[in-house]
Symmetry: C3
Subunit: 340 residues, 3 copies
């Protein structure tokens, strides 16, 4: 289904192979040798495709689908149409991700330094790296094996990248240290000066920003997102964090492991998020806060106080989610002329 | 009035020529041969300038203006000062746009490939294209006639551009197909991976993003705006959409024709806007919504439900605009100590 | 404390020297010859470090600190631990900024044009400029002395920069005039077309954007921030303004001197801010407003009316801050089931 102009497809694969690679179990062992040639959405799939059902909302589409095979939870398997091979999975979306990666495996970079790339002679590149046209690698930078540095990306002086990292076109990195398998999308800005000034009527005096950005393994940072370096301490992005586009991370911010931050969120300086915090789009955080592990912050929230571990909040200023829902219900009544 | 350091001016033109080119009608035919040499705002114009009155707020400035000529609606013509030549227009701002384009016509690019541009040998460029210094054009890209590719812009592998497109400095395009006369401003990011992960405590697993971005004719996309490619379906921007700076468009989003999206709006994945939806700045949309044709979304709204065609909404969570106004009035009373 | 991989340190300095350079007064003149080798935070400092106490919240850390010396207000000096040398300052944070700049002085650029930079032969560069790899300088641009133009930055045709400016990697400037000591961080976009269209069902017609961006001395503009050029008048950024990352400044906006604008703020076209306005993150402004000198706008505000000089506002729509606090208190009560 993917446009071959842009995507190279592997396969076909037998359902037995796919089940083994995605941690699913075939409902009928007899389907193990059946072959499928691609992934497709339930409503677009044909007999040669494997699809998935993740959301109960789409049960009807599942029941009507012409897909040859489908990833599904055991509890919903009975709704399958006749003739569909079933791969029973605990988390069908996660299994789908693995199946899709079989058909469209992340390609390792084609090693080499393209014409028009500028690599400082004192920089060190690991084996198998690709540096695309116009990319600039500064003095003393050290790049691990198999990194892909996109066209017109800039790797600043002395920056360190681990192995298997990818830096998108036009992104720029400075004063930072990256772990392995870090993905920086196009136009992201990592490690520039934090917003630190001693304010005053005689002029706002710039305060030297003497920290770094430290990004741990398996982080993804979205397009045109900005991560400022620390003022003294480092700005830290924990392992496995996923950050969407156009997010602002201020100086000295620390993110634990596995945080998920949707687009256009802003986190002010020195705020600390513990592990697995999830933040909806356009939410904002004041500085110097502590957000506990597993907290969930609704989209467009304005967080101005610490949030305890595991708590969900919403609204601006943010309140626990049950309070926030009562607030919005009360406001809705006010707008309908009741409750005034 | 425009700084000749940056803008090349044409003209002068007679009012007869200008009236014909902008769809206006001279109030007095005797003015047809009068010449003007430039456009200017009402309060800055002199006898050699043509100005316009679009907003009743500026009627006094119109009555006091020294402009030699002015575009104006018939209903306000009587307020003109003595000696001002009048061009009667149904939509004076639209006519002004056409007149301003007479004096400052969009220059076609100077054909050629600048020193320091890197064009892959397998890329194809139409006649009359200009590739500025540092621009990178990837393998198998196909660029229509008369496109302008700005300095340090990146056109990814296999990307397709129609005719008369313009890509600003430092912008990057991948996995996308553009129609004719598409304008991409500086630093915009088109076609990078959408934000798709199968979340889990054992790590968030990246889901391959197998769609494209399809941008139809006459679209403009603002500086540092991000448009992610689809996860499976395409992300689609309909003909004539105008998108401001720092906007986030998630994967699988579909915009109909003529949508207008002001700066810093965020639209989550799989949301669909029908034709001519207008969105104020910093509004946000949840995913998987349907926004009907002609709907109007106020600035800073948080849209979490479908919006019917033609409906105006505001607030967060967004409500029909009359309800929203009652909500804000009631909240205002609460803040003044009444209504509690 | 700063990582020597990224930062070059000067010193050591005597406390006498530092006191003189930062406008502080030694509590005991006998400490004048004592030497310190670096700055450090109160809780990380040792005898060889100088630290600072700016916020009463950290008095306990001050009392327990092992720092050899500390900048402090007179009123808090009595809380110092034994043996700590004290530098009494009216504004310890401002004095700290000066001390930190002694240890980590902003390095002047190393003059020269790096390999892979593209400078148009008609551009003029002042003495002592550095042009990094991949930077592009357009025809007729004029760059003052000692400017640093970062890797892959783009200086458009005829752009003017004053002296001692710095343009970050991947930033792009067009149709603009900069004063002295202006700092543009990575990926900022200055001078592209404003968002001006004559809307209509037959298509939105682009209105030529005939103004410039004028940036006065000592301005800092954050990473991936966008500043559109004027439609006819100029967009103006007053001297000493500090603008954070991902901010949107629309066409014809005028900022007075010393405004401070935190990340992700959006200011719509033709709005004017007088001197020393301070704006919290993610606030938004409608167009054509006037914000008086010294006004303070809370984070996430939605400003839709003029604000008088010196007034603080918050909320969306924004209200004077005392009203806004009563609003949020009343809403909080609604969410707790009281006041309904």
């Amino acid at each position: 289904m993917a446009d071959p102009r842009f995507f190279a497809k592997s396969g076909p694969f037998t359902l037995g192979e796919l089940a083994a690679r995605c941690g699913a179990k075939l409902a009928r062992e007899a389907d193990a040798d059946k072959r499928v040639s691609d992934v497709a959405a339930l409503d677009q799939a044909g007999p040669e495709h494997i699809s998935f059902l993740d959301n109960r909302k789409y049960v009807d589409a599942f029941a009507a689908s012409r897909a040859g095979a489908c990833l599904v939870q055991d509890a919903l398997a009975a709704r399958a149409p006749a003739g569909m091979a079933l791969l029973i999975a605990l988390d069908p979306y996660r299994s789908y991700a693995k199946v899709a990666r079989c058909f469209y495996p992340p390609a390792p970079p084609v090693p080499g330094i393209a014409a028009g790339a500028i690599v400082d002679p004192s920089a060190r590149l690991g084996a198998g790296c690709r540096v695309e046209a116009g990319a600039v690698i500064g003095a003393r930078a050290e790049i691990g094996a198999r990194c892909l540095l996109g066209a017109n990306a800039v790797i600043g002086e002395a920056v360190l990248l681990g192995e298997d990292c990818s830096v998108g076109p036009g992104a720029s990195l400075g004063h930072c240290i990256l772990g392995d398998r870090v993905i920086i999308l196009a136009g992201a800005r990592i490690g520039q000066d934090g917003f630190g000034f001693a304010m005053g009527a005689e002029g706002h005096l710039k305060v030297p920003q003497l920290g770094r950005v430290v990004i741990h393994d398996d982080v993804e940072i979205g397009a045109n997102t900005t991560v400022d370096r620390g003022a003294g301490p480092d700005t830290v992005i924990g392992a496995g964090c996923k950050i969407d586009n156009l997010v602002q991370i201020g100086h000295n911010v620390q993110l634990g492991r596995g945080c998920v931050i949707v687009a256009q969120v802003g986190i002010s300086g020195s705020t600390r998020l513990d592990d697995f915090v999830a933040i909806g789009g356009q939410a904002g955080f004041a500085g110097h806060l502590r957000i506990g592990a597993g907290a969930r912050i609704a989209a467009q929230s304005g967080v101005i106080r610490d949030v305890d571990p595991g708590v969900s909040v919403g609204g601006s200023p943010a309140a626990p989610v049950s309070e926030w829902h009562r607030q919005t219900a009360a406001i809705r009544r006010l707008g309908r002329g009741k409750g005034e």
